[in-house]
Symmetry: C2
Subunit: 201 residues, 2 copies
């Protein structure tokens, strides 16, 4: 198993977490997004979407962090984190879409604009982040986990950029239920932290 | 089965297509996004994300178009459009994420800025649309369908905003393989068109 990886990427972090939780040995190939290595002809041949993470599992190449999470849990021993039942799988999918939409476009972009000093509309990303956090907070007030009343792929998909959001200058202080959920994810067996924190000066 | 619906929404159109393809009878409740009906207390109680589509299947309430598609095909007779096999389901998920990301943030936003006269960065949405269309074109040159070499939930998820993209002032002329794929989707049994076209003056 090979992971095309960028250390500071929350999308890569969720795959590193899942591989560790499943006890899968893997090698990494670093794709430095700050050096634009994702635009090299070699990497574009692997993923024309020029994004990480990508996995290569013995020749099966897969992009998109949500797709990779689903593949790993189904193939390597935690199918209950993404079950077959129509209502259960759909409940998880709502949060996988949330992880692509509000979490990425809000939480991750708010952070990227700060820590990578990118140009963009930070205020809009913060506003979308607050909307997303409001929804998470309301849900997590009455639920320990995002879906099915137990840990699933949905929690892993939404965790990294939520845990990193203060780097995007969005305070988690008004969101106690979200903070408690972050703590529950970090207490899961096999959890690995984002390396190198704090890496913002 | 009840669908909270907005006629001009591509995300709602994909659900109307799927319900028709599965032969499911349903009633609709119109949520007029132009009148901000999605922000009414009644609808926020249904979906705090203030978005359509939402379905209510005999009390089971589900938001998010990708989640709804998965639920419908699994529960109502086309499980082969979203199979259990880890590699197959992950291949479809890549395109479901694409439908939330490039297709929605690019194709749908480019169109919304024009037809709903919204404020926003049309140029950025067009650029993201072109990147998405380039990737689809490269893939569809050698494949009839987005995933698994056959029609799946991925095609229904990506179809509406692709077929509507010229309303966002993005020409499909440079994308012959995409246009042929649009034709294949529109030839599927049970296909229903977006009503009221052309509705832009």
């Amino acid at each position: 198993m090979k992971l095309y990886d960028f250390t500071l990427s929350g999308n890569c972090h969720k795959i590193r977490m899942m591989l560790a939780m499943l006890g899968i040995d893997y090698e990494t190939q670093s794709i430095d997004l700050l050096d634009k290595e994702q635009l090299s002809p070699e990497f574009l041949a692997v993923n024309p979407f020029h994004k990480v993470p990508v996995i290569d599992d013995d020749g099966f190449v897969l992009r998109d962090s949500a797709a990779i999470l689903i593949y790993l849990v189904r193939k390597y021993g935690k199918p209950e984190w993404h079950p077959d039942d129509p209502a259960a799988i759909a409940e998880i999918q709502q949060w996988l879409s949330f992880s692509v939409n509000e979490v990425f476009n809000g939480f991750a972009i708010a952070r990227a604009l700060i820590i990578f000093k990118r140009e963009g509309d930070h205020e809009a990303a913060v506003e979308l982040s607050r909307q997303g956090l409001d929804i998470m907070e309301r849900h997590l007030k009455d639920h320990d986990w995002l879906a099915l009343g137990r840990v699933t792929a949905a929690d892993i998909a939404c965790y990294p950029y939520t845990a990193l959001i203060e780097e995007g200058h969005v305070s988690l202080e008004p969101y106690p239920a979200v903070r408690e959920w972050i703590g529950r994810v970090e207490a899961l067996p096999g959890y690995v932290a984002m390396p190198g924190l704090p890496y913002t000066a």
